[in-house]
Symmetry: C2
Subunit: 327 residues, 2 copies
Amino acid sequence: MATIRDIARRAQVSVSTVSLALNDDGRVRPETRQRVLEVMRRLDYRPSRSARSLSSGLAYSIHLLDPLGGQALTSGFLTRFVRGLHDSARERSYTVAFSIVNDEREAAEHTKTLISERWTDGIVLLNPSDNSALLDLIAARAFPYVVLGREPEGRGLSVDNDNHQVGYDAARHLIAAGRSNLAFVNGAHAQTFARDRAGGFLSAVNEYGVTGEVHYNDGTPEAAAELALQAHRNGCDGLLAASDPQAVAALRSLLSAGASVPDGVSLMGMNNDALGEYVDPPLTSMDLSAYRLGLEAAALLLERVENPDLQNERRLVPHAITVRESA
Amino acid sequence: MATIRDIARRAQVSVSTVSLALNDDGRVRPETRQRVLEVMRRLDYRPSRSARSLSSGLAYSIHLLDPLGGQALTSGFLTRFVRGLHDSARERSYTVAFSIVNDEREAAEHTKTLISERWTDGIVLLNPSDNSALLDLIAARAFPYVVLGREPEGRGLSVDNDNHQVGYDAARHLIAAGRSNLAFVNGAHAQTFARDRAGGFLSAVNEYGVTGEVHYNDGTPEAAAELALQAHRNGCDGLLAASDPQAVAALRSLLSAGASVPDGVSLMGMNNDALGEYVDPPLTSMDLSAYRLGLEAAALLLERVENPDLQNERRLVPHAITVRESA
DNA sequence: CAGGCCTATCGAACCGGTTCGAAAGGAGCA
DNA sequence: TGCTCCTTTCGAACCGGTTCGATAGGCCTG
């Protein structure tokens, strides 16, 4: 494999000139630069990434930390998020790597290695809990990171939706469909975004003078099926679920309880997973722009890598309702 | 951050001795080694990965190439495969990175970069097509790779199931349940593993003197639903699907056509996705040990990285039927 | 025409490890 | 005592880039 010294010899210039030409420093004379590039092309020269890493101090990679034993690689939402991360990183010639960890201790141990052996330039965290020791550890070392969701301390970098508005807009959509007895099968109360969405949902309910209840739960399809039935018995005519799998489960239990969707009950999911297209009726869903979140997360993180002064920034990504037939 | 030279100074030895101690070369005297390690611990020293990479020529990472715009990160099967890759790689202090590519041209371009800029030590490919230009490109450069599935030319490294046996065992399971009119909603005929499974399926059918048909198709749930109905009309009493999503779709269409499962029709899926547990009746499925495949793939690939003589090896991973209620 | 400045290029040091060959020191042996 | 051999340690080169400070040469100005 050709090295930069081979190129220098062939092009009759010094090694430093080759490096300058390669990185398009304005200083090198255009003819010289062309000559050097031509030699590179002839020898199919490519700069070694590890050599670059060593001298620049960059690993040219970002690292996704998946704390729950691989959840990121499972859900439809995170799949699109990861694609966004990837596309954004690759555009800047960075690689995306990932680690799956099973508990806080393992996460902390692994993260220390990641940082101190400089395997990566920045870490992507998924919805960290409110007092995450992991997050403290990273922040204490002033290492670049970005969180998907809310940064508990309000420090650092994050990408997110405006979750209050998400809840508000979803409720308003149901109300606009003529519904007046709403229920929100939400996520867990411990999750900040779930509370934010509930807040927005209830704002709309109050503002428009309709009835509405929020049911926090563990997020499983089973819980959704159960809560949907219960809401149905209480005369609910507009149901919002915290995810599409939950919405699908709710749909089934509503249909089997004899309800009609959307005529009797409007039903709405969240995240706009592909599976929503395949049920009957097709599911209306709040699209949270997972891909776009991934794109922004990597972009923001890499801005931080290049510019350490970027200490605090929260980027919100727009949401939009994908209307199908269920609401 | 402490470097190896800091350690050397503090421990009153030379840099090379520190390196030897760190890598546990037998040559260094135990007391010296202890003294060096002690200093390392005091300073919380960690060797820089990029420096190591540069001098050793290794990137300490393997790369998963996902050719179909992210399919690997979507299906339940590949999710477990990826976990296996990850666990096996991390155990050896390697990182797993991935790239998503959308077509052959992009795949080739990106792979050249991966190899010639030495971003990675080995590539994992998913079920390459029979005449994959990409595969030729990698093999031509003698770069380490492993394929999940069959290596079309029979060269190189691969991990796979014994697909003939998979088809055979599935059919035999249905036959053992007293079924005599079988149908196999298979994958596409272009896929070698689908043909292998069909072969095994038909062997069992012949051997036991029952009726059995193979229906190649595009693998979508819709196709499965349609083919299941058709089979049902032809008196099929034992149905095998090529995936669990297909099996679930078949289940629904069978039930809505008035068939009973498993009393009237035994139904079996493949891959043992989590979703099989949540349908009614719970799905019997052929478990292909996706996690184990991932584990073996990374292990094999890294053996090859360390030992270039390992040119040809195919590792088969056992399958097993997970019996629930549908068959 | 001397002096100063600007541009293009260069040599050398550096990033932080690994590894090769040499050398110092001690033990064993004739 | 002198020789060889073995063990342990060391210095230096190397991996392949980037970057700093120096320098040579050309042009402008007074």
